[in-house]
Amino acid sequence: MDLSIMIPELLKALPLTLAITFTAMIAGLLLALIATTFRVRRIPVLSQLADLYVSYARSVPVVLQLFVAFYGLPLVVALFEVEDFVSPNVAAIVGLSLYHGGYLSEVLRPAYLAVERGQHDAADSLGYTFLQKILRVVGPQAVHIALPGYGNSIIYLIHNVALVMYIGAADVMATAHLVMERDYNQYQFETYLVLAVIYSLLCLVAWMVVRFFETRNAKFAPNTALAKATMMASV
């Protein structure tokens, strides 16, 4: 086994892993914002649908969600009579976005609710619209409360990107399998150790970025006790 050959080869697949991560991050955030809005405003029907979506994203294993996306998307695409464009990468992005959105919604909602009632009342009494209230009063405080939980959810997203190889996306894990097979499966343990280091480093970087925003945004810290972000794995 030659690390100086293997590592560059693995890193060549890193852009795809990162691309899936970032797309899922952005799409997931949008989905989470929409779902959370429906849920905190208790819009009938839509709020129940959002609840169902969140419990789907949180109680079904991510591998299964990926497979559902992989086999379900072509059906959805066929409904709209568009040409089938679903590749493993697209399915991975859609599946992980749905997962991340649902998980994140359950981070944002408690953060929104943790902002003191008085702040909502004050904004309402000043005639702020819902959007103004969110953007100017509740949002900045909720963001600060949500940051630790958001950091966790990003780390889980990175962990779960390792699963996209099962639906055939050629990410770092899949490349590692190719490398292992080329070496007649002699160095499997070592290769997985290298993978473990790569993923740990990715998580470390994500954690440091979130940490930076946490300290930078400290002025938005509400003076009430922060709701503890439960650190529990999500697969």
Binding site: S55, Y56, R58, S59, V60, P61, V62, V63, L64, F67, V68, Y71, G72, L75, A78, I155, I158, H159, N160, A162, L163, Y166, M173, Q188, F189, Y192, L193, L195, A196, Y199, S200, C203, L204, K228, T230, M231, M232, A233, S234, V235
Partner: protein
Amino acid sequence: MFDSEVLLPDLWDILGAVPVTLAMALGIFVFSTIVGSLFAMVEYRRVPLLRELVVAYKVVFKGVPMVIVIFLAYYGLPPTLQFLTSLVGIDYNGHSTPNWITLIVALTACVAAFQAEVVKGALNSFDNGQADAAYSLGYKRSQVFRRVMLPQVIVAAIPDLANSIMVIMKALSLGFAIEVVDIFAQSQLTAALNFYYLEAFLIAVVIYMVIAYLVTYAADRMERALRVWA
């Protein structure tokens, strides 16, 4: 494309894997809670040296995806076992270790890092004034722990423990990579027989959601019944 006729036979097939999955999840839950509690006690009592080791352990197992830990255990555990047993003079073929044992060991190692956090949170929620009161009544350290602390700490941890049971259930789905058959793997096998993939996976989705609902419901009931509202 979507055939509802296969749903019922598929459901029976996949339901067959539920007891095994639950049994494995329960096993991992018990082991990881024991290990996690030990870790949490080490941190709570501030045992020197051991504490640093626990922190390092947690960092490692939180940073590495569970799939990778499972694969590492799959390739690393049998030789390790064989080596360890050869040290004590037992002739054991490590490669005959069943895969489900490997999976249970790997997931226990992962989940213990998170359970430590859950137990630590519950321990920190304990009001130390109560311990002082108990000491003033002449309780021994072990008595305070068993009669005052433990009952409250367990109740405080119920929601998080229920959550971790669900996490373990979901993590078992990664076992299909090393040929352990749980609900997800069974749905894959069923689908492979009749090529109705989406149908089988949707049934698995429903089963997972129902189990999650039941677990949360049971935990809610249990917490409400046990908690002493101050």
